[in-house]
Amino acid sequence: MTQINFSNLGAAATAEQKRLAGYKAMLMVCTGTGCVSAKAFSLLDNLKEEISKRDLDKDFLVVGTGCNGFCGQGPILVVQPEGVFYQRLKKTDMARIVEEHLIGGKPVEDLMHRDLSSNKPIHKMDDIPFFSKQKLIALRNKGLVDPENIDSYFARNGYMALKEALEKGSPKSVLDEVKTSALRGRGGGGFPAGVKWASCMAAVEKTGKEPVVVCNADEGDPGAFMDRSIIETDPHTVLEGMCLGAYAIGAKEGFVYIRKEYPLAVTRLEKAISQARDRGLLGDGIMGSDFSFDIIIHRGAGAFVCGESTALMASMEGRAGEPSPKYIHNVESGYKDRPTVLNNVETWANIPVIVDKGGKWFAAIGTGDVSKDPWGGSSGTKVFSLVGNINNTGLVEVPMGITMREIIFDVGGGIPDGREFKAVQTGGPSGGCLPASLLDEPVDFDTLTRAGSMMGSGGMIVMDDHTCMVDVAKYFMEFLKDESCGKCNPCREGTVTLYGILDRITSGKGVKGDIDELERISRVMEAGSLCQLGATACNPVLSTLRYFREEYDAHIDEKRCPGKVCKDLITFTINDECNGCMVCAKRCPTNAISGEKKAKHTIDQKECIKCGICNDVCKYDAVNVE
């Protein structure tokens, strides 16, 4: 294994680029988790087989890449370098692509993405609206590198920023670029990374203790999978970012705290670390310099609160993840009382590009004026997981300041099944639900906070008019009451009480005064909780009350659920569209549906458990939900 040093990194990159250029085309099969759920691995094997069978191994290279981002259309194959995009593939399509496209030179149009309005096939990935409005920094290598091959990262100029810093720069030059970039933490808080690093260095000077860098990959927000995808797609960018951070603050030790629920990400990260060690990019004397640094993985065991920094540190020390008061910050006394820089995966993934292209370049993207103060705006891009009731589900990276409307309707292609947009939820359980009236607001840290939500780690869950906002608030409160660590009273008791009230309202037992009670308890939790989990737990309740008050009133005063979700307030009946196909009667789990073939069916309300399966399986819109 060739050890990488200052003089041969460039050659390693060129060698790999040359090797890849020797192929007529590269077939990049997405093996992110979404596509894997649609059997992408067997597709990958099948494609390799079709290529080998025709003796074309020398001409075409098959690569399993990380997440392409367009998860809703998986499994996905992109033919590079031409960029032809195929979606929703089946095993049998592989032979066709090989025969018709690779050999015949004619791309297979019926396997391509189609324009939502004209229904015409779109050949190139970059021309698909989902991709064309994106700007890639953290995800710059998605679909272009083999996450399990370090050489493939070299070919994309990987570790070049680290080399330049170690060879020609200094810890201060790295820190200065990060400060100038005004990069704010992508994990939720939005704290400027440069300020955090500088405080840590000041603490090192004061205490003389060895600092550590930590990568928070405990992506706990439900509805968010940015960090998982970055690690599964391009693990070395995270490692390079951490190396640069460690070099800047003088750390020799680094940790990645990752959820065990992400087995593929853990495996790819372990492989990447071991390859980096083998090539002299982690360990003693990196690239022949006198900088030494190594990274150890800690696997979380399922606790949302461990995304909170002090809880995360406790968990890394092998204890229960209960937060501590933050009189002293982690940068002064974090992991084992040492000065600790904690940033999340996406933040680290931005660092190599910032060091390479310069902080000024990064700061020019985004909103506000950050030239004097990093709090003056939101620089750079943000990765969002765009999911829920939306046509184009997946992972997108867009410049800060883009409007919600552009993300949801241009990139996301709008709401499916002709339904109406109702709300978008951002910021996970600490965030809130924003209504249609705010669609033209720019997406940045400060605007979202002012609107009563927050950026959070980047989950963006779109909800259509068949969503009940009281049910959504209840959903988050159920999550939070289970995930509250129980250490402090306002959070432990507050979440349970709020849940109880919401549960009552959604069961049709809400009473006058419930809303006041929800607001009163929320204020206490905000003021009195030990950590941010408790202090922000009321956001889903307060934001839905602020923007969707009429839905609460309908539940309480009229015992009606406008979203037609709350089981106790809806009934299922069959209308005259029913042609007696009997499918619903067969699939009804309680045999509540009766009727002859070719005659209108009826639902026995006493037997009906309101599972909604009849409505799901009916092809004729014959089930009414009222």
Binding site: T33, G34, V36, S37, A38, F70, C71, G72, G74, E219, G220, D221, P222, G223, A224, F225, R228, K260, E261, P263, H298, R299, G300, A301, G302, A303, F304, M316, E317, G318, R319, A320, G321, E322, S385, V387, G388, N389, T393, G394, L395, Q425, G459, I461, M463, T467, V472, Y475, F476, F479, E483, C485, R587, P589, I609, C611, G612, I613, D616, V617
Partner: protein
């Protein structure tokens, strides 16, 4: 108690109590639960109080004090899955298996769990059966999936 197996796990982490959570995860994977005598043994070996081991065992969701089933069925309850009907999927699975959330079938074959986001939100609703992801799974399809799985297992 298979001491050799535990020693292998402890060696993997150099007997370092910083890795207690990882050690317990490996034990959970091997035994499908954390037996009390084993927790006691680990506490002795690592030189930590038993209270700390049991605190972790009861704090994190990955651990169980009762044996889990041969197959673990995880219904994702993340936000994207929720708005696409995850609770109805869970109900359908529960009806098909005849057990509630968090329970194990009498034959110790299946454990049904409602889990927090598994990070496959792009293909919601999602169910994970023994590490295999099934996306875009509506309630009716999920019931069929379980019925098929049970039938194949019985062969």
């Amino acid at each position: 108690m298979d001491v050799a197996k535990i020693d292998t796990i402890l060696r993997k982490y150099n007997g370092d109590s910083d890795f207690l959570i990882e050690i317990l995860q490996d034990v959970q994977a091997e035994w499908r639960y954390l037996p009390v005598d084993l927790m006691r043994h680990l506490a002795d070996e690592l030189g930590v109080p038993l209270a700390r081991v049991s605190h972790i065992a009861t704090f994190y969701k990955a651990f169980s004090l009762e044996p889990r089933g041969e197959h673990e069925i995880q219904v994702c309850m993340g936000t994207a899955c929720h708005v696409k009907g995850a609770s109805r999927v869970l109900d359908a699975m529960s009806r098909e298996l005849g057990i509630g959330e968090g329970q194990t079938t009498a034959d110790k074959q299946y454990t049904l769990e409602a889990v927090r986001c598994v990070g496959a939100c792009g293909v919601a609703p999602v169910v994970v059966i023994d590490d295999e992801y099934h996306g875009d799974l509506m309630p009716d399809a999920s019931a069929k999936l379980i019925a098929r799985h049970m039938k194949e297992g019985a062969k």
